[in-house]
């Protein structure tokens, strides 16, 4: 009764017609079906933020969404932000400010920060900290991640 269903999902601009079981999580679809392992699986219940992606431009936990719900939607993952040698401004800033150590939380941090930057003015470091509070990092103590996001905000203010 719950066989597979045909869906069409756009991921980082490419369209994938695929067949999925209804219970398949979006994050497992990205990693296992499409082989896009940039999106990480941490807690699998919406607490750690490691699996954050953009769904039609808005950040969402890929462990709290079913792949079948992404039918007809457009997903952006960390692979879509840039590539080695061609990183985007936020990725460059993470690099410059040493905003990662082990890198496990980084894809989720980048996707969350991408959405924060498009929705909030992030006038203070407290605003950035509150915005990132749903993403856990066990290495950095967060300080350098906040600095990396701050630098992008400041650069945008300087050159609107």
């Amino acid at each position: 009764m719950s066989g597979t269903r045909d869906i069409t999902v756009t991921v980082n601009g490419a369209t994938y017609p695929v067949s999925v079981e209804p219970r398949l999580l979006l994050v497992d679809f990205l990693r296992h079906t499409l082989g896009l392992t940039g999106t990480h699986v941490g807690c699998e219940h919406g607490v750690c933020g490691a699996c954050t992606v953009l769904v039609d431009g808005d950040s969402a936990r890929a462990c709290l969404m079913l792949a079948i719900q992404a039918d007809g939607r457009s997903i952006d993952t960390v692979e879509g932000l840039g590539r080695i040698g061609q990183m985007n401004a936020l990725q460059e800033s993470f690099h410059t400010h040493h905003a990662l150590q082990c890198g496990f939380c980084t894809p989720g941090m980048l996707m969350t920060a991408t959405d924060l930057l498009q929705k909030y003015p992030l006038a203070t470091d407290d605003d950035i900290r509150r915005g990132l509070s749903g993403n856990l990092c066990r290495c950095t103590g967060y300080e350098h991640i906040v600095r990396a996001v701050r630098a992008v905000v400041d650069k945008r203010k300087a050159a609107p």
Partner: protein, 290 residues
């Protein structure tokens, strides 16, 4: 940590959704934002035979202004409520509460109907619904009914909603003129569920309080209206002695429990402290201060 097997329907109308619920005979669950349901599926605390997805029903996400109230569609996302100018104008206490609801990625997906139907004992929206005397419109194949928020929350994660019913609309009366509000929450980390939170409104004329409302969350199985404490405020100006007795009445009105995050005594203590802060903020705002 993977959901169990279930069948899935993406409903395209409320009629289709309630028909699917009725046909499943109590074995189906609605999925809206999924921000509470998905973890419960992954932990296998729930094993529905069918998920009825209401995300694709057109016209179920809206914020409409009427003369005396705002009507909010059940599928309205937290982020829409957080950033709505209409809500900021007429129900600023709700706008303030929304900034404490989880994190952006969750507010992008989570819905007001989902939060109220889930009935988490430490969530902000159930408390605001009780504070503002919301009316909830519920639909099923047998028709429609309306429930007051006060009567909707029965126990922890238990609400007055049958397995064949769907919450469709939330009606929130606008705050009266000369009303100030306060919202105070303590959580271990920003965006976490409240250890305790207090919301209050005070309607003031000629220097004395005409209407007072105080609601709490995180201090029992359901959100609480502190009716006896509210009564103490009527006819008076807010001053410290009065606030002390109101805070005592609030502490007496709740029965918090110990858990991993806080002891019952600490929650009771916080309820008083946050009542004090929320009432002072409401009083200041009722005088026109920001």
């Amino acid at each position: 940590m993977k959901p169990p097997v279930f069948d899935y329907i993406a409903a395209t109308s409320t009629d289709m959704a309630v028909a699917a619920l009725a046909a499943a005979g109590g074995e189906a669950k609605i999925i809206a934002g999924g921000q509470s349901l998905m973890p419960m599926l992954s932990f296998r605390l729930l094993r529905p035979s069918l998920l009825v997805d209401i995300n694709r029903i057109p016209g179920l996400a809206y914020i409409e202004e009427a003369d005396t109230c705002l009507r909010i569609g059940a599928l309205t996302r937290h982020f829409q409520i957080e950033t709505s100018p209409v809500i900021a104008r007429h129900l600023p206490v709700l706008s303030a509460a929304m900034t404490h609801v989880a994190h952006l990625a969750i507010r992008n997906r989570g819905t007001i109907g989902g939060s109220l139907s889930h009935g988490d004992p430490a969530a902000e929206l159930p408390m605001i619904a009780v504070l503002l005397d919301a009316t909830l419109h519920i639909e099923s194949v047998s028709g429609q009914r309306a429930v007051r928020a006060q009567d909707f929350f029965l126990d922890a994660l238990t609400v007055d909603l049958d397995s064949a019913e769907v919450l469709a609309e939330i009606i929130l009366p606008k705050l009266p003129p000369n009303t100030g509000w306060g919202f105070e929450e303590i959580a271990r980390r920003h965006g976490d569920f409240a250890i305790a939170a207090v919301a209050a409104t005070l309607t003031v004329s000629d220097g004395s309080i005409r209407q007072a409302r105080i609601a709490l969350t995180g201090v029992g199985p359901t959100p609480v209206r502190a009716a006896a404490a509210e009564t103490l405020l009527i006819g008076h100006a807010l001053e410290n002695k009065l606030v002390e007795s109101v805070a005592r009445a609030v502490r007496a009105a709740i029965a918090p429990e110990d858990d991993l995050h806080a002891s019952a005594d600490y929650r009771r203590h916080l309820a008083g402290v946050l009542t004090d802060r929320a009432l002072h903020a409401a009083w200041r705002r009722a005088q026109g201060e920001p």
